[in-house]
Amino acid sequence: MLKELLPKENLANHNKVDSWEEAIRLASQPLLKQGAIEEQYITNMIDSVNVNGPYIVLNDYFALPHAKAGEAVNKQGMALLTLDHPVDLKGNPVKLFLVLAAIDSTSHLKALSEISELLMDDEKYKVFINGNVDDIYKLINGEVN
């Protein structure tokens, strides 16, 4: 379930950051504090962008940083950071970072498809991009349709 993988304490908003690397680090903090991921996972996500390019930017203003399942991941989870001011990620402005930590190739798929459904809905997408954490949580929690 999405709301179990992405509880409210894993959502954060910041005004602005200096780099996309900083955004990924900031977005990952709740997962790091909960022991779901190790520092190494953050490095792996950043390295992946440098090696594989910015394909984690899945839509205008939205990126899904992730790395290999099970490596430096203790427990699956997600964390979301919204920015008031977009930061450049190799030529793409990004305001929404959804960090995904997976333990294997399947356990997280239900939650990931749930949040993708929300993000593929144009009206709901606007709520995510606007960045208000309370409004976003209502969508994740299924309080509004």
């Binding site: 899945l58 290999k68 399942a69 995904l100 997280h108 798929l109 593929m120």
Partner: protein, 93 residues
């Protein structure tokens, strides 16, 4: 018709790309099996087309004997739809 959605790890982006392709096929009433996978499993796999990123497309093109479509934004319905239309016009089954 079988399409592979490929990303570096096969756990995140390729799943989203699969959803976008599924939606685009549904809109066009095309029956299509879409599988998401990582780049190493994709190499040499049997499919009618591969959808992946620009960076991975370059790496995959030499090892696939089906068309490879480079997608910039995996969640962009229009971009994915355009690639699918191109595939359907050029002999997708």
């Amino acid at each position: 018709m079988k399409i592979l959605a490929v990303c570096g790890f096969g756990v995140g982006s390729s799943m989203v790309l699969k959803m976008s392709i599924d939606k685009a096929c549904k809109e066009r009433n095309v029956s299509c099996e879409v599988e998401n996978t990582d780049i190493s499993s994709a190499k040499g796999a049997n499919a009618d087309a591969v959808f992946t990123s620009h960076e991975l497309a370059q790496e995959l093109e030499s090892s696939m004997n089906c068309p490879v479509f480079a997608i910039k934004k995996y969640m962009d319905k229009e971009e994915v739809g355009n690639a699918l239309d191109q595939l359907l016009q050029n002999g997708g089954k």
